[in-house]
Amino acid sequence: MSETILNVQGLTVDIPLAAGTLQAVRGIDFELKRGETLCIVGESGSGKSLTSLAVIGLLGKRLKVGASKLEFEGRDLRSLTRKQMQALRGDRMAMIFQEPMTSLNPAYTIGDQLAEALQLHRKVSKAEAMARAADLLGKVGITAAESRLQQYPHQLSGGLRQRVMIAMALMCEPDLIIADEPTTALDVTIQAQILRLLADLKREMNLALILVTHDLGVVARIADKVAVMYAGEIVESGTAKEIFDAPSHPYTRGLLDCIPVPGKTRPGEPLGSIPGIVPSLIGDVSGCAFRSRCVLARETCSGRIPKRSASGEHTYRCIQETLVSEVA
Protein backbone atom coordinates (compact mmCIF):
# COMPACT_ATOMS: atom_id res chain seq x y z
CA MET A 1 0.00 0.00 0.00
CA SER A 2 1.33 3.44 -0.90
CA GLU A 3 0.97 6.31 1.52
CA THR A 4 -2.24 8.24 1.95
CA ILE A 5 -1.86 11.86 0.85
CA LEU A 6 -5.31 13.15 1.58
CA ASN A 7 -8.00 11.85 3.87
CA VAL A 8 -11.28 13.74 3.94
CA GLN A 9 -14.19 12.58 6.11
CA GLY A 10 -17.50 14.35 6.56
CA LEU A 11 -16.51 17.53 4.74
CA THR A 12 -19.19 20.21 4.74
CA VAL A 13 -19.30 23.69 3.26
CA ASP A 14 -22.07 26.01 4.38
CA ILE A 15 -22.83 29.32 2.72
CA PRO A 16 -24.78 31.71 4.94
CA LEU A 17 -27.36 33.53 2.81
CA ALA A 18 -30.14 35.93 3.66
CA ALA A 19 -32.70 33.20 2.95
CA GLY A 20 -30.94 30.66 5.20
CA THR A 21 -27.87 28.48 5.15
CA LEU A 22 -27.00 26.92 1.83
CA GLN A 23 -25.53 23.48 2.48
CA ALA A 24 -23.37 23.41 -0.61
CA VAL A 25 -21.29 20.41 0.44
CA ARG A 26 -22.98 17.95 2.78
CA GLY A 27 -20.62 15.51 4.41
CA ILE A 28 -18.41 13.94 1.79
CA ASP A 29 -15.66 11.38 2.32
CA PHE A 30 -12.73 10.45 0.11
CA GLU A 31 -9.20 9.25 0.40
CA LEU A 32 -6.34 9.70 -2.00
CA LYS A 33 -3.02 7.86 -2.15
CA ARG A 34 0.22 8.89 -3.81
CA GLY A 35 0.15 8.17 -7.52
CA GLU A 36 -3.64 8.11 -7.71
CA THR A 37 -5.98 10.26 -9.75
CA LEU A 38 -9.35 11.02 -8.26
CA CYS A 39 -11.95 12.52 -10.53
CA ILE A 40 -14.75 14.42 -8.86
CA VAL A 41 -17.62 14.49 -11.33
CA GLY A 42 -20.83 16.42 -11.15
CA GLU A 43 -22.90 19.09 -12.79
CA SER A 44 -22.68 22.82 -12.08
CA GLY A 45 -23.61 23.59 -8.50
CA SER A 46 -22.95 20.07 -7.24
CA GLY A 47 -20.26 21.39 -4.88
CA LYS A 48 -17.26 19.84 -6.63
CA SER A 49 -15.30 23.09 -6.97
CA LEU A 50 -16.15 24.12 -3.41
CA THR A 51 -14.82 20.76 -2.23
CA SER A 52 -11.46 21.31 -3.90
CA LEU A 53 -11.23 24.92 -2.72
CA ALA A 54 -12.06 23.79 0.82
CA VAL A 55 -9.18 21.29 0.76
CA ILE A 56 -6.63 23.88 -0.34
CA GLY A 57 -8.11 26.51 1.97
CA LEU A 58 -9.06 29.09 -0.63
CA LEU A 59 -12.70 29.58 0.29
CA GLY A 60 -13.80 33.03 1.39
CA LYS A 61 -14.13 33.75 5.11
CA ARG A 62 -17.91 33.91 4.75
CA LEU A 63 -18.08 30.20 3.91
CA LYS A 64 -18.05 27.74 6.78
CA VAL A 65 -16.01 24.59 6.30
CA GLY A 66 -16.52 21.64 8.60
CA ALA A 67 -15.11 18.11 8.65
CA SER A 68 -14.68 15.21 11.03
CA LYS A 69 -11.34 14.56 9.36
CA LEU A 70 -9.29 16.70 6.98
CA GLU A 71 -5.80 15.27 6.87
CA PHE A 72 -3.07 16.05 4.39
CA GLU A 73 0.05 13.87 4.70
CA GLY A 74 -1.01 13.01 8.22
CA ARG A 75 -1.37 16.66 9.27
CA ASP A 76 -4.74 17.91 10.39
CA LEU A 77 -5.48 20.85 8.10
CA ARG A 78 -8.16 22.12 10.46
CA SER A 79 -5.59 22.77 13.18
CA LEU A 80 -3.19 24.75 10.98
CA THR A 81 -2.86 28.50 11.32
CA ARG A 82 -3.32 30.78 8.34
CA LYS A 83 0.45 31.11 7.98
CA GLN A 84 1.00 27.34 8.11
CA MET A 85 -1.74 26.78 5.54
CA GLN A 86 -0.17 29.46 3.36
CA ALA A 87 3.19 27.69 3.60
CA LEU A 88 1.54 24.48 2.44
CA ARG A 89 -0.32 26.06 -0.45
CA GLY A 90 1.73 26.18 -3.62
CA ASP A 91 4.40 24.07 -1.96
CA ARG A 92 2.98 20.66 -0.96
CA MET A 93 -0.38 21.15 -2.63
CA ALA A 94 -0.96 23.18 -5.75
CA MET A 95 -3.97 24.13 -7.78
CA ILE A 96 -4.75 24.57 -11.47
CA PHE A 97 -7.83 26.56 -12.40
CA GLN A 98 -10.46 26.47 -15.08
CA GLU A 99 -9.76 29.78 -16.78
CA PRO A 100 -6.24 29.92 -18.19
CA MET A 101 -7.06 33.20 -19.95
CA THR A 102 -7.58 35.09 -16.70
CA SER A 103 -5.64 33.05 -14.16
CA LEU A 104 -2.29 34.67 -14.88
CA ASN A 105 -1.51 38.20 -13.74
CA PRO A 106 -1.42 40.45 -16.84
CA ALA A 107 1.16 42.78 -15.28
CA TYR A 108 4.02 40.30 -14.87
CA THR A 109 6.02 38.10 -17.21
CA ILE A 110 5.50 34.35 -17.29
CA GLY A 111 9.00 33.97 -15.82
CA ASP A 112 8.29 36.32 -12.91
CA GLN A 113 5.10 34.49 -12.04
CA LEU A 114 6.69 31.04 -12.25
CA ALA A 115 9.73 32.12 -10.25
CA GLU A 116 7.50 33.64 -7.59
CA ALA A 117 5.86 30.27 -6.97
CA LEU A 118 9.26 28.80 -6.07
CA GLN A 119 10.68 31.81 -4.26
CA LEU A 120 7.68 32.02 -1.94
CA HIS A 121 8.61 28.63 -0.50
CA ARG A 122 12.34 28.08 -1.12
CA LYS A 123 15.36 30.24 -0.48
CA VAL A 124 16.62 30.37 -4.05
CA SER A 125 17.95 33.18 -6.19
CA LYS A 126 15.85 34.64 -8.99
CA ALA A 127 18.24 33.10 -11.53
CA GLU A 128 17.85 29.63 -10.02
CA ALA A 129 14.08 30.01 -9.94
CA MET A 130 14.09 31.15 -13.58
CA ALA A 131 16.22 28.16 -14.56
CA ARG A 132 13.74 25.82 -12.90
CA ALA A 133 10.87 27.67 -14.60
CA ALA A 134 12.50 27.22 -18.02
CA ASP A 135 13.11 23.57 -17.24
CA LEU A 136 9.47 23.00 -16.30
CA LEU A 137 8.15 24.91 -19.30
CA GLY A 138 10.08 22.44 -21.41
CA LYS A 139 8.58 19.58 -19.41
CA VAL A 140 5.01 20.76 -19.99
CA GLY A 141 5.73 20.87 -23.71
CA ILE A 142 6.45 24.54 -24.31
CA THR A 143 9.17 25.10 -26.89
CA ALA A 144 11.59 28.03 -26.75
CA ALA A 145 11.06 28.13 -23.00
CA GLU A 146 13.78 30.73 -22.39
CA SER A 147 12.09 33.32 -24.58
CA ARG A 148 8.62 32.45 -23.25
CA LEU A 149 9.79 33.43 -19.78
CA GLN A 150 10.14 37.02 -20.97
CA GLN A 151 6.64 37.11 -22.43
CA TYR A 152 3.45 38.38 -20.86
CA PRO A 153 0.27 36.28 -20.49
CA HIS A 154 -1.59 38.22 -23.19
CA GLN A 155 0.99 37.10 -25.74
CA LEU A 156 0.16 33.41 -25.16
CA SER A 157 -2.76 31.27 -26.34
CA GLY A 158 -5.15 29.61 -23.92
CA GLY A 159 -3.51 26.20 -24.29
CA LEU A 160 -0.07 27.64 -23.64
CA ARG A 161 -1.32 29.56 -20.63
CA GLN A 162 -2.79 26.39 -19.15
CA ARG A 163 0.59 24.69 -19.64
CA VAL A 164 2.16 27.62 -17.82
CA MET A 165 -0.36 27.15 -14.99
CA ILE A 166 0.58 23.48 -14.81
CA ALA A 167 4.28 24.35 -14.74
CA MET A 168 3.54 26.84 -11.97
CA ALA A 169 1.80 24.15 -9.94
CA LEU A 170 4.87 21.91 -10.37
CA MET A 171 7.45 24.51 -9.30
CA CYS A 172 7.80 23.19 -5.74
CA GLU A 173 7.25 19.53 -6.68
CA PRO A 174 3.97 19.22 -4.77
CA ASP A 175 2.54 15.95 -3.48
CA LEU A 176 -1.00 16.90 -4.45
CA ILE A 177 -2.31 18.80 -7.44
CA ILE A 178 -5.92 19.86 -7.59
CA ALA A 179 -7.07 20.69 -11.08
CA ASP A 180 -10.47 22.39 -11.22
CA GLU A 181 -11.88 21.81 -14.71
CA PRO A 182 -8.47 22.42 -16.30
CA THR A 183 -9.65 21.67 -19.82
CA THR A 184 -13.13 23.15 -19.88
CA ALA A 185 -12.06 26.45 -21.43
CA LEU A 186 -9.87 24.82 -24.08
CA ASP A 187 -10.72 23.42 -27.47
CA VAL A 188 -10.96 19.68 -27.92
CA THR A 189 -7.52 18.89 -29.37
CA ILE A 190 -5.82 20.98 -26.70
CA GLN A 191 -7.99 19.28 -24.03
CA ALA A 192 -6.62 15.90 -25.00
CA GLN A 193 -3.02 17.17 -24.92
CA ILE A 194 -3.44 18.77 -21.50
CA LEU A 195 -5.03 15.63 -20.05
CA ARG A 196 -2.25 13.44 -21.40
CA LEU A 197 0.28 15.88 -19.97
CA LEU A 198 -1.36 15.77 -16.52
CA ALA A 199 -1.49 11.97 -16.59
CA ASP A 200 2.18 11.72 -17.66
CA LEU A 201 3.33 14.20 -15.04
CA LYS A 202 1.37 12.41 -12.33
CA ARG A 203 3.05 9.11 -13.20
CA GLU A 204 6.50 10.62 -13.62
CA MET A 205 6.44 12.69 -10.44
CA ASN A 206 4.38 10.16 -8.48
CA LEU A 207 1.94 12.71 -7.15
CA ALA A 208 -1.69 12.58 -6.21
CA LEU A 209 -4.09 14.32 -8.56
CA ILE A 210 -7.62 15.51 -7.97
CA LEU A 211 -9.38 16.39 -11.17
CA VAL A 212 -12.67 18.21 -10.90
CA THR A 213 -14.77 17.92 -14.02
CA HIS A 214 -18.26 17.63 -15.41
CA ASP A 215 -16.95 15.75 -18.44
CA LEU A 216 -17.19 11.96 -18.19
CA GLY A 217 -14.98 11.70 -21.27
CA VAL A 218 -12.18 13.26 -19.22
CA VAL A 219 -12.89 10.84 -16.38
CA ALA A 220 -12.68 7.82 -18.65
CA ARG A 221 -9.30 8.95 -19.94
CA ILE A 222 -7.51 9.72 -16.72
CA ALA A 223 -9.23 8.54 -13.54
CA ASP A 224 -8.15 5.81 -11.14
CA LYS A 225 -10.96 6.63 -8.74
CA VAL A 226 -14.19 8.45 -9.37
CA ALA A 227 -16.48 10.30 -6.99
CA VAL A 228 -19.80 11.33 -8.48
CA MET A 229 -21.21 14.37 -6.73
CA TYR A 230 -24.82 15.44 -6.73
CA ALA A 231 -26.26 18.32 -4.71
CA GLY A 232 -23.33 18.48 -2.32
CA GLU A 233 -23.01 14.75 -1.72
CA ILE A 234 -20.94 11.97 -3.17
CA VAL A 235 -23.70 9.72 -4.47
CA GLU A 236 -21.36 7.09 -5.83
CA SER A 237 -17.66 6.39 -5.67
CA GLY A 238 -15.35 3.63 -6.74
CA THR A 239 -12.65 2.84 -9.24
CA ALA A 240 -13.14 4.16 -12.73
CA LYS A 241 -13.75 0.63 -14.00
CA GLU A 242 -16.40 -0.06 -11.36
CA ILE A 243 -18.23 3.19 -12.09
CA PHE A 244 -18.21 2.74 -15.85
CA ASP A 245 -18.96 -0.99 -15.83
CA ALA A 246 -21.52 -1.08 -13.08
CA PRO A 247 -23.01 2.35 -12.37
CA SER A 248 -25.14 1.78 -9.28
CA HIS A 249 -26.74 5.12 -8.55
CA PRO A 250 -29.54 6.30 -10.84
CA TYR A 251 -27.77 9.64 -11.24
CA THR A 252 -24.53 8.06 -12.42
CA ARG A 253 -26.55 5.88 -14.73
CA GLY A 254 -28.28 8.99 -16.09
CA LEU A 255 -24.96 10.74 -16.61
CA LEU A 256 -23.55 7.79 -18.55
CA ASP A 257 -26.69 7.63 -20.71
CA CYS A 258 -25.98 11.20 -21.82
CA ILE A 259 -22.79 10.13 -23.60
CA PRO A 260 -22.91 8.62 -27.06
CA VAL A 261 -20.98 5.34 -27.25
CA PRO A 262 -19.22 4.68 -30.56
CA GLY A 263 -20.59 1.52 -32.17
CA LYS A 264 -23.53 1.33 -29.75
CA THR A 265 -25.39 4.57 -30.20
CA ARG A 266 -27.01 4.65 -33.62
CA PRO A 267 -27.00 7.92 -35.61
CA GLY A 268 -30.18 9.90 -35.03
CA GLU A 269 -31.01 8.03 -31.85
CA PRO A 270 -31.76 10.53 -29.05
CA LEU A 271 -29.19 10.64 -26.26
CA GLY A 272 -30.31 10.27 -22.70
CA SER A 273 -30.93 13.31 -20.52
CA ILE A 274 -31.80 13.84 -16.88
CA PRO A 275 -35.02 15.82 -16.50
CA GLY A 276 -35.34 18.60 -13.96
CA ILE A 277 -32.78 20.74 -12.13
CA VAL A 278 -30.66 20.44 -9.01
CA PRO A 279 -32.88 21.12 -5.96
CA SER A 280 -32.34 24.07 -3.64
CA LEU A 281 -30.02 23.23 -0.76
CA ILE A 282 -31.07 26.12 1.44
CA GLY A 283 -32.27 25.08 4.89
CA ASP A 284 -32.61 21.46 6.02
CA VAL A 285 -32.20 18.86 3.32
CA SER A 286 -33.47 15.38 4.01
CA GLY A 287 -33.66 12.18 2.06
CA CYS A 288 -32.18 11.68 -1.39
CA ALA A 289 -31.61 15.00 -3.16
CA PHE A 290 -32.00 13.28 -6.51
CA ARG A 291 -35.44 11.83 -5.87
CA SER A 292 -37.32 14.63 -7.67
CA ARG A 293 -35.52 13.71 -10.90
CA CYS A 294 -35.16 9.98 -10.39
CA VAL A 295 -37.13 7.48 -12.49
CA LEU A 296 -36.93 4.91 -9.70
CA ALA A 297 -38.07 7.23 -6.90
CA ARG A 298 -40.31 5.81 -4.17
CA GLU A 299 -41.84 7.23 -1.02
CA THR A 300 -39.03 5.91 1.15
CA CYS A 301 -36.56 8.09 -0.77
CA SER A 302 -37.46 11.00 1.50
CA GLY A 303 -36.15 9.06 4.52
CA ARG A 304 -32.62 8.19 5.52
CA ILE A 305 -30.53 7.01 2.62
CA PRO A 306 -28.05 4.24 3.43
CA LYS A 307 -24.55 4.11 2.01
CA ARG A 308 -24.35 0.78 0.27
CA SER A 309 -21.32 -1.17 -0.77
CA ALA A 310 -21.43 -2.69 -4.22
CA SER A 311 -18.05 -4.39 -4.30
CA GLY A 312 -14.70 -3.52 -2.78
CA GLU A 313 -14.38 0.23 -2.49
CA HIS A 314 -17.37 0.82 -4.73
CA THR A 315 -20.10 2.52 -2.69
CA TYR A 316 -23.29 4.38 -3.48
CA ARG A 317 -26.10 6.09 -1.66
CA CYS A 318 -29.50 4.81 -2.68
CA ILE A 319 -32.62 3.27 -1.21
CA GLN A 320 -32.57 0.60 -3.93
CA GLU A 321 -31.12 -2.64 -2.70
CA THR A 322 -30.34 -4.15 -6.05
CA LEU A 323 -27.90 -2.43 -8.36
CA VAL A 324 -29.48 0.02 -10.72
CA SER A 325 -27.54 -1.50 -13.56
CA GLU A 326 -29.37 -4.77 -12.95
CA VAL A 327 -32.79 -3.20 -12.54
CA ALA A 328 -32.78 -1.07 -15.65
Binding site: L88, R89, F97, T102, H154
Partner: protein, 305 residues
Protein backbone atom coordinates in the same frame (compact mmCIF):
# COMPACT_ATOMS: atom_id res chain seq x y z
CA UNK B 1 8.54 50.35 -24.78
CA UNK B 2 10.85 52.75 -26.65
CA UNK B 3 8.61 52.76 -29.72
CA UNK B 4 5.60 53.41 -27.51
CA UNK B 5 7.38 56.25 -25.70
CA UNK B 6 8.49 57.85 -28.97
CA UNK B 7 4.97 57.63 -30.38
CA UNK B 8 3.55 59.28 -27.27
CA UNK B 9 6.25 61.93 -27.35
CA UNK B 10 5.47 62.70 -31.00
CA UNK B 11 1.79 63.05 -30.15
CA UNK B 12 2.61 65.32 -27.23
CA UNK B 13 4.68 67.58 -29.49
CA UNK B 14 1.84 67.79 -32.01
CA UNK B 15 -0.63 68.71 -29.29
CA UNK B 16 1.76 71.33 -27.92
CA UNK B 17 2.03 72.85 -31.39
CA UNK B 18 -1.77 73.00 -31.73
CA UNK B 19 -2.09 74.61 -28.33
CA UNK B 20 0.53 77.20 -29.24
CA UNK B 21 -1.46 78.15 -32.34
CA UNK B 22 -4.64 78.49 -30.28
CA UNK B 23 -3.06 80.57 -27.54
CA UNK B 24 -1.42 82.80 -30.15
CA UNK B 25 -4.77 83.27 -31.91
CA UNK B 26 -6.38 84.47 -28.66
CA UNK B 27 -4.64 87.80 -29.09
CA UNK B 28 -6.29 88.36 -32.44
CA UNK B 29 -9.63 86.69 -31.74
CA UNK B 30 -10.45 89.24 -29.05
CA UNK B 31 -10.42 92.16 -31.47
CA UNK B 32 -7.59 94.24 -32.91
CA UNK B 33 -4.90 94.21 -30.23
CA UNK B 34 -3.53 97.63 -31.27
CA UNK B 35 -6.94 99.29 -30.85
CA UNK B 36 -7.47 97.85 -27.40
CA UNK B 37 -3.92 98.76 -26.38
CA UNK B 38 -4.27 102.36 -27.62
CA UNK B 39 -7.26 103.01 -25.43
CA UNK B 40 -10.58 104.79 -26.02
CA UNK B 41 -9.38 108.20 -27.12
CA UNK B 42 -6.66 107.12 -29.51
CA UNK B 43 -6.50 108.51 -33.05
CA UNK B 44 -6.08 106.33 -36.10
CA UNK B 45 -2.44 107.49 -36.24
CA UNK B 46 -1.85 106.39 -32.64
CA UNK B 47 -3.27 102.98 -33.40
CA UNK B 48 -1.12 102.64 -36.50
CA UNK B 49 1.94 103.64 -34.49
CA UNK B 50 1.20 101.08 -31.77
CA UNK B 51 0.49 98.48 -34.42
CA UNK B 52 3.92 99.12 -35.91
CA UNK B 53 5.64 99.24 -32.52
CA UNK B 54 4.24 95.86 -31.45
CA UNK B 55 4.56 94.38 -34.93
CA UNK B 56 0.83 93.80 -35.43
CA UNK B 57 1.15 95.09 -39.01
CA UNK B 58 3.14 92.04 -40.06
CA UNK B 59 1.47 88.94 -41.59
CA UNK B 60 0.02 86.59 -38.94
CA UNK B 61 2.32 83.71 -39.82
CA UNK B 62 5.36 85.93 -39.32
CA UNK B 63 3.97 87.16 -36.01
CA UNK B 64 3.28 83.59 -34.93
CA UNK B 65 6.71 82.22 -35.79
CA UNK B 66 8.33 85.24 -34.16
CA UNK B 67 6.22 84.75 -31.00
CA UNK B 68 6.82 81.00 -30.90
CA UNK B 69 10.55 81.38 -31.50
CA UNK B 70 10.83 83.85 -28.64
CA UNK B 71 8.56 81.72 -26.41
CA UNK B 72 10.80 78.72 -27.00
CA UNK B 73 13.66 80.86 -25.70
CA UNK B 74 11.68 81.89 -22.65
CA UNK B 75 10.74 85.32 -23.95
CA UNK B 76 6.98 85.84 -23.72
CA UNK B 77 7.07 89.58 -24.36
CA UNK B 78 6.23 92.32 -21.93
CA UNK B 79 3.19 92.49 -19.70
CA UNK B 80 0.90 95.35 -20.80
CA UNK B 81 -0.03 95.98 -17.22
CA UNK B 82 3.19 95.57 -15.23
CA UNK B 83 5.51 96.68 -18.03
CA UNK B 84 7.77 93.81 -16.98
CA UNK B 85 8.96 90.79 -18.97
CA UNK B 86 6.19 88.17 -18.73
CA UNK B 87 8.75 85.43 -18.15
CA UNK B 88 10.04 87.09 -14.95
CA UNK B 89 6.50 87.76 -13.81
CA UNK B 90 5.46 84.16 -14.25
CA UNK B 91 8.59 82.50 -12.87
CA UNK B 92 7.90 83.52 -9.25
CA UNK B 93 4.21 82.78 -9.44
CA UNK B 94 4.71 79.45 -11.11
CA UNK B 95 7.02 78.14 -8.39
CA UNK B 96 4.32 78.84 -5.80
CA UNK B 97 1.65 77.13 -7.89
CA UNK B 98 3.91 74.16 -8.63
CA UNK B 99 4.78 73.75 -4.96
CA UNK B 100 1.11 73.87 -4.04
CA UNK B 101 0.09 71.53 -6.87
CA UNK B 102 2.73 68.90 -6.10
CA UNK B 103 2.01 69.02 -2.36
CA UNK B 104 -1.74 68.81 -2.96
CA UNK B 105 -1.62 65.89 -5.39
CA UNK B 106 0.82 64.04 -3.10
CA UNK B 107 -1.47 64.65 -0.16
CA UNK B 108 -4.45 63.45 -2.19
CA UNK B 109 -2.67 60.31 -3.41
CA UNK B 110 -1.16 59.44 -0.04
CA UNK B 111 -4.54 59.58 1.66
CA UNK B 112 -6.81 58.41 -1.16
CA UNK B 113 -4.94 55.31 -2.35
CA UNK B 114 -4.46 53.63 1.07
CA UNK B 115 -8.03 54.56 2.01
CA UNK B 116 -9.36 53.19 -1.29
CA UNK B 117 -7.43 49.92 -0.84
CA UNK B 118 -8.62 49.55 2.76
CA UNK B 119 -12.20 50.24 1.70
CA UNK B 120 -12.01 47.63 -1.08
CA UNK B 121 -10.52 44.96 1.20
CA UNK B 122 -13.50 45.21 3.52
CA UNK B 123 -16.46 46.56 1.57
CA UNK B 124 -19.28 47.96 3.71
CA UNK B 125 -17.09 47.89 6.82
CA UNK B 126 -16.53 50.83 9.14
CA UNK B 127 -13.42 51.78 7.16
CA UNK B 128 -15.37 51.72 3.90
CA UNK B 129 -18.18 53.81 5.39
CA UNK B 130 -15.76 56.33 6.84
CA UNK B 131 -13.95 56.62 3.51
CA UNK B 132 -17.26 57.09 1.74
CA UNK B 133 -18.25 59.80 4.21
CA UNK B 134 -14.93 61.59 3.75
CA UNK B 135 -15.18 61.47 -0.01
CA UNK B 136 -18.78 62.66 -0.15
CA UNK B 137 -17.90 65.49 2.24
CA UNK B 138 -14.87 66.40 0.12
CA UNK B 139 -16.93 66.40 -3.03
CA UNK B 140 -19.76 68.41 -1.51
CA UNK B 141 -17.82 71.05 0.42
CA UNK B 142 -16.83 74.05 -1.73
CA UNK B 143 -13.10 74.69 -1.30
CA UNK B 144 -13.61 78.36 -0.46
CA UNK B 145 -15.81 77.40 2.46
CA UNK B 146 -13.52 74.59 3.64
CA UNK B 147 -10.56 76.98 3.35
CA UNK B 148 -12.28 79.65 5.42
CA UNK B 149 -13.28 77.13 8.08
CA UNK B 150 -9.66 75.95 8.29
CA UNK B 151 -8.50 79.54 8.67
CA UNK B 152 -11.05 80.15 11.43
CA UNK B 153 -9.98 77.02 13.30
CA UNK B 154 -6.22 76.82 12.78
CA UNK B 155 -5.29 80.48 12.36
CA UNK B 156 -7.78 82.44 14.39
CA UNK B 157 -8.82 80.08 17.19
CA UNK B 158 -5.81 77.83 17.63
CA UNK B 159 -3.21 80.23 16.16
CA UNK B 160 -1.25 77.28 14.82
CA UNK B 161 -0.86 78.15 11.15
CA UNK B 162 -0.49 81.38 9.20
CA UNK B 163 -3.63 82.37 7.29
CA UNK B 164 -2.02 83.99 4.29
CA UNK B 165 1.20 84.35 2.35
CA UNK B 166 3.75 81.93 0.98
CA UNK B 167 6.93 82.64 2.93
CA UNK B 168 7.47 79.34 4.78
CA UNK B 169 6.40 75.74 4.38
CA UNK B 170 3.85 76.28 7.14
CA UNK B 171 2.00 78.65 4.83
CA UNK B 172 1.44 75.78 2.46
CA UNK B 173 -0.13 73.32 4.91
CA UNK B 174 -3.71 74.55 4.80
CA UNK B 175 -3.79 75.27 1.04
CA UNK B 176 -2.36 71.78 0.42
CA UNK B 177 -5.05 70.15 2.52
CA UNK B 178 -7.84 72.20 0.98
CA UNK B 179 -6.72 71.68 -2.61
CA UNK B 180 -5.72 68.05 -2.04
CA UNK B 181 -9.00 67.24 -0.33
CA UNK B 182 -10.75 68.49 -3.43
CA UNK B 183 -8.94 65.92 -5.59
CA UNK B 184 -9.08 63.10 -3.05
CA UNK B 185 -12.66 61.75 -3.42
CA UNK B 186 -12.36 60.87 -7.10
CA UNK B 187 -9.00 59.16 -6.60
CA UNK B 188 -10.28 57.29 -3.55
CA UNK B 189 -13.43 56.04 -5.26
CA UNK B 190 -11.55 55.02 -8.37
CA UNK B 191 -8.96 53.12 -6.33
CA UNK B 192 -11.72 51.38 -4.41
CA UNK B 193 -13.67 50.43 -7.53
CA UNK B 194 -10.51 49.22 -9.30
CA UNK B 195 -9.38 47.17 -6.31
CA UNK B 196 -12.82 45.61 -5.84
CA UNK B 197 -12.80 44.47 -9.44
CA UNK B 198 -9.21 43.23 -9.42
CA UNK B 199 -9.56 41.40 -6.10
CA UNK B 200 -12.23 39.22 -7.70
CA UNK B 201 -9.98 38.38 -10.63
CA UNK B 202 -8.85 34.82 -11.22
CA UNK B 203 -5.16 35.77 -11.04
CA UNK B 204 -5.63 36.94 -7.46
CA UNK B 205 -6.90 33.46 -6.60
CA UNK B 206 -3.86 32.05 -8.44
CA UNK B 207 -1.56 34.22 -6.33
CA UNK B 208 -3.23 32.96 -3.16
CA UNK B 209 -3.03 29.38 -4.42
CA UNK B 210 0.73 29.85 -4.81
CA UNK B 211 0.92 30.61 -1.12
CA UNK B 212 1.40 34.38 -1.38
CA UNK B 213 0.55 36.30 1.79
CA UNK B 214 -2.22 38.87 2.07
CA UNK B 215 0.09 41.88 1.72
CA UNK B 216 1.82 40.47 -1.33
CA UNK B 217 -1.48 39.61 -2.98
CA UNK B 218 -2.85 43.08 -2.26
CA UNK B 219 0.09 45.22 -3.26
CA UNK B 220 2.08 43.19 -5.77
CA UNK B 221 -0.72 41.41 -7.59
CA UNK B 222 -3.80 43.59 -7.15
CA UNK B 223 -2.78 47.23 -6.76
CA UNK B 224 -0.54 47.29 -9.81
CA UNK B 225 -3.50 46.34 -11.98
CA UNK B 226 -6.00 48.56 -10.18
CA UNK B 227 -3.86 51.70 -10.15
CA UNK B 228 -3.70 52.25 -13.93
CA UNK B 229 -6.83 54.43 -14.23
CA UNK B 230 -5.85 56.22 -11.01
CA UNK B 231 -2.59 57.33 -12.62
CA UNK B 232 -4.46 58.84 -15.57
CA UNK B 233 -6.91 60.58 -13.28
CA UNK B 234 -4.10 62.01 -11.13
CA UNK B 235 -2.46 63.52 -14.21
CA UNK B 236 -5.71 65.28 -15.10
CA UNK B 237 -6.18 66.43 -11.50
CA UNK B 238 -2.62 67.72 -11.35
CA UNK B 239 -3.10 69.70 -14.56
CA UNK B 240 -6.32 71.06 -13.17
CA UNK B 241 -4.63 72.10 -9.94
CA UNK B 242 -2.10 74.26 -11.76
CA UNK B 243 -4.63 76.39 -13.53
CA UNK B 244 -7.65 75.85 -11.36
CA UNK B 245 -6.26 76.59 -7.93
CA UNK B 246 -7.40 80.22 -8.27
CA UNK B 247 -9.94 79.93 -5.47
CA UNK B 248 -7.51 78.36 -3.03
CA UNK B 249 -4.77 80.81 -3.98
CA UNK B 250 -7.17 83.70 -3.45
CA UNK B 251 -8.32 82.50 -0.01
CA UNK B 252 -4.81 82.02 1.32
CA UNK B 253 -3.35 85.01 -0.57
CA UNK B 254 -0.85 82.80 -2.30
CA UNK B 255 0.07 84.81 -5.36
CA UNK B 256 0.38 81.89 -7.69
CA UNK B 257 0.07 81.48 -11.42
CA UNK B 258 -3.63 80.60 -11.32
CA UNK B 259 -4.35 83.81 -9.49
CA UNK B 260 -2.17 85.75 -11.93
CA UNK B 261 -4.06 84.28 -14.88
CA UNK B 262 -7.35 85.31 -13.36
CA UNK B 263 -6.10 88.86 -12.70
CA UNK B 264 -4.52 89.17 -16.14
CA UNK B 265 -7.74 88.23 -17.89
CA UNK B 266 -9.49 91.03 -16.03
CA UNK B 267 -6.73 93.48 -17.02
CA UNK B 268 -6.69 92.46 -20.70
CA UNK B 269 -3.00 91.69 -20.21
CA UNK B 270 -2.86 89.47 -23.25
CA UNK B 271 0.85 88.53 -23.39
CA UNK B 272 0.61 87.25 -19.81
CA UNK B 273 -2.59 85.33 -20.53
CA UNK B 274 -1.07 83.85 -23.69
CA UNK B 275 2.07 82.76 -21.88
CA UNK B 276 0.13 81.27 -18.97
CA UNK B 277 -2.18 79.32 -21.26
CA UNK B 278 0.79 77.98 -23.16
CA UNK B 279 2.63 77.02 -19.98
CA UNK B 280 -0.41 75.44 -18.29
CA UNK B 281 -1.12 73.49 -21.47
CA UNK B 282 2.47 72.30 -21.70
CA UNK B 283 2.35 71.08 -18.11
CA UNK B 284 -0.96 69.37 -18.81
CA UNK B 285 0.55 67.67 -21.84
CA UNK B 286 3.64 66.74 -19.84
CA UNK B 287 1.57 65.15 -17.05
CA UNK B 288 -0.50 63.23 -19.57
CA UNK B 289 2.66 62.01 -21.25
CA UNK B 290 4.15 60.97 -17.91
CA UNK B 291 0.96 59.16 -16.90
CA UNK B 292 0.86 57.35 -20.26
CA UNK B 293 4.46 56.24 -19.77
CA UNK B 294 3.80 55.22 -16.16
CA UNK B 295 0.78 53.19 -17.25
CA UNK B 296 2.73 51.53 -20.03
CA UNK B 297 5.29 50.51 -17.46
CA UNK B 298 2.56 49.24 -15.10
CA UNK B 299 0.54 47.37 -17.70
CA UNK B 300 2.48 45.48 -20.37
CA UNK B 301 -0.65 45.13 -22.51
CA UNK B 302 -0.28 48.83 -23.30
CA UNK B 303 3.35 48.63 -24.39
CA UNK B 304 3.72 45.10 -25.79
CA UNK B 305 1.47 44.39 -28.76
Amino acid sequence: MLAFALKRLGLAILVTFTVSVISFSLLHLSGDPATSLAGENATAADIAAISRQYGFDRPLTVQYTDWLWKALHGDFGESYYFKLPVADLIADRLSITMTLGICAISFALLTAVPLGVAAAVRPNSVVDRTALFLSVAGQAMPSFWFGLVMIVIFSIKLRLLPASGSETWRHFIMPTVVLGYYAMPAIMRLTRAGMLEVLNADYIRTARAKGAGAGRVLFKHALRNAIVPVVSLSAVQMGFMLGGSVVVEAIFSLHGAGYLAWESIGRHDLPTVQALILIFSCFYILFTLLSDLANAWLDPRIRVG
